[in-house]
Amino acid sequence: MTSFLLSDGTCDLDQIPCCDPDAFRARVVAACRDGARLVATLVLPIRAQDALLALLARDRASSAEALAMVLPADRRYPSLSAELPQAQAFERELAEMHGLLPVGHPWPKPLRRHADLETPGSSDGHSFFQLGGAGVHEVAVGPVHAGIIEPGHFRFQCYGETVHSLEIQLGYQTRGAEKLLLASPPTRRQIVAESVAGDTSVGHGIAYATAIEKLAGLEVPVQAQATRALALELERMDSHTGDLGALCNDVGYLPGASWYGRLRGDFLNLLVELSGNRFGRGLVTTGGVRLGLPASELAGFATRFENAAADFERIADVIFDAPSVVSRFDGTGALNQTMADELGLVGPVARACGSDRDARRDHPEGIYRRMPVEIALGSTGDVMARAEVRRAEAGHSATLIRSLLADVEIGLAGDPAAPALGRLPPSSLSLAIVEGWRGEIVHVAVTSKTGELTAYKIVDPSFHNWFGLAMAMRGQQISDFPLCNKSFNLSYAGHDL
């Protein structure tokens, strides 16, 4: 059996060949050693048999492929994680959602907290890795944190000030997004997708719309593609601006925190001009966009954008020149490229380690198919590299936005028309990959024999990257955790779904 290539992100479910668990494991591991990455896993019936489906992306070839195995009756199968660390979270998720038993998984614990598994006052079902020995102590933080932030539990094993292990227990945010999306009518589905991670409303909104459009074979008008890209790049700029401000705050550099905190609002207000909402909600719909920029507002929009973009660079010049910032960013929470690749990290976190991947270039959709995207790469993998990559990416986003606004042929102005959605084809699968500001967002949509949406999988970039944060904390001072955490700035809700 060879792997099964998806055609422009779609395939006929019944055409996917299945193999036995041992061959499946060997093939997925071999493909990943050959440069492929695991982007999503699903359990669903293929030719009436329950199967585990793995979707892999090959960035250099801009292709995606499917590998499947028939589930054994006892649902036990040889785990991939020991050989393929990037599979660890996927396998833990499959175990808790579908009762699969990955035999030989190094840490077969639920990925998300389940209230049913806990008895008050104990941590049944949620035992944490513990370090032994005199002088070793444990620090527990969360789920409710000291700031205005989503809930999650962090368990540190420390000797003195040094963190030897950090285990991150999430799941407090589980809202049942995938199940709810499936059970909802189409307009509600778009809204659920946009609420998977609110700070990535545009990214997840586009990913959902793209997954459905691919299934339906729907062509999005160029003007709507441009509007989507404009919103996605604005979202990237506002998030990177906010992150750089928050990083300044965490090292006590208040001018940077104040200025960037304010400037982020300018980008959010540009999203209001485009979409009526500071997070771009309600903009994207299947087939296109609901709103656009009227021609009369284009010039004013461009001026306000240029002012904000210029301020971004001016402030960055000051921050990256401040010794108190540089000395705290440099060398803190470093990962290397080998680790980033083995753990399957994505987004600015991976690029800060030198992993050259960005879905806008590698798996382009819409307007990105004809717009070159510059990729920002770091090498040191520390807080400094993550900050510098964000700075550079915001600059590249500004370039993209300028070309969108200037390209009269693309024409952002005018009335956006979304083509109507017809019936979805039966027994089909589609894979949408969108590079959100945090990294690769993956949505997978599957239809039944009657053309109804029957399975839906969402993989937020945080799903891959939380483990990267845990690894980055090893050997670090516990007091550096807030700084490291902020330099990743991952989504709890996006992970927990």
Binding site: G176, G198, W259, G261
Partner: protein, 252 residues
């Protein structure tokens, strides 16, 4: 030196509000307006289109506790009877007051004299995200930036419920956060207030009906201020809080 000049360039950015009005961009979707006179007989296009069943037709009412302020209803409306204004003033004291006929809307009133004396000049709040998607959390964070600067009104987010006079809840209250929410509420010394920030905390919002959530703050936790939106604008928070503290200037 560079830093010095940048400081001068950045200038003073804090809003003059509430002394001077804040006008949001006309495209911002705030308080909806409904001109029933324009509604064709028997038309239910807005109500049918609404993804969260926030609109009833007889009588025509919009439930701002469920409304996500998305453009679906106004685009479905055949006559333009339904529209969004850019008015961010949305805070209400009671769940039923979130129902509007699109013409009038009862904004939050000040709390009783005793609470106002206690909290009016210093209100410390603890934020609990209970399934919030980080949009509401983001907007609450922004209230601390130099633009909104909620601290100038004596309002501050604190790190411990023991230091707090109340809680601000975001999210539809996921099952896995319900006990943490109750614990946090119980840990706040009385008298205390509860602010529901965003459609999720009020009604479940986008996650209404999900078996993994509680459709917002459980009924046995009394809410003093409802702030609709998905997410609400930071100005909605400032306006609502100043109203319940009785600190809005006359005519504001």
């Amino acid at each position: 030196m560079k830093r010095f000049f940048e400081r001068i360039h950045q200038g003073h950015r804090t809003l003059a509000w509430p002394k001077a009005p804040v006008n949001l961009h006309p495209r911002f979707r705030g308080l909806p307006t409904l001109d029933v006179g324009k509604c064709p007989a028997g038309c239910s296009a807005c109500s049918d289109a609404c993804p969260t069943d926030a609109i009833s037709t007889s009588p025509r009412r919009i439930d701002l506790g469920k409304c996500l302020f998305c453009p679906v209803c106004t685009q479905a409306c055949p006559t333009g009877a339904l529209a969004f204004s850019n008015d961010f003033r949305l805070g209400a004291n009671a769940r039923e007051r979130l129902l509007t006929d699109g013409k009038s809307y009862a904004l939050a009133q000040a709390m009783g004299e005793k609470l106002r004396r206690l909290l009016g000049r210093s209100l410390k709040l603890r934020q609990v995200s209970a399934g919030g998607c980080n949009a509401c959390e983001g907007e609450l964070n922004v209230t601390g930036t130099v633009v909104f600067d909620v601290g100038r009104f004596g309002v501050q987010f604190v790190a411990s419920p023991r230091h707090a006079d109340g809680i601000v809840v975001t999210g539809p209250v996921s099952r896995n956060m319900e006990s943490a929410l109750r614990d946090t509420y119980a840990a706040v010394p009385s008298p205390k207030i509860v602010i529901a920030f965003g459609a999720c905390a009020i009604s479940g919002g986008p996650f209404m009906g999900s078996p993994d959530c509680r459709n917002g703050i459980p009924a046995d936790i009394p809410v003093d201020l409802f702030l609709p939106g998905c997410p609400p604008h930071p100005m909605t928070f400032l306006d609502g809080v100043l109203r319940i503290l009785g600190r809005m200037p006359k005519g504001g």
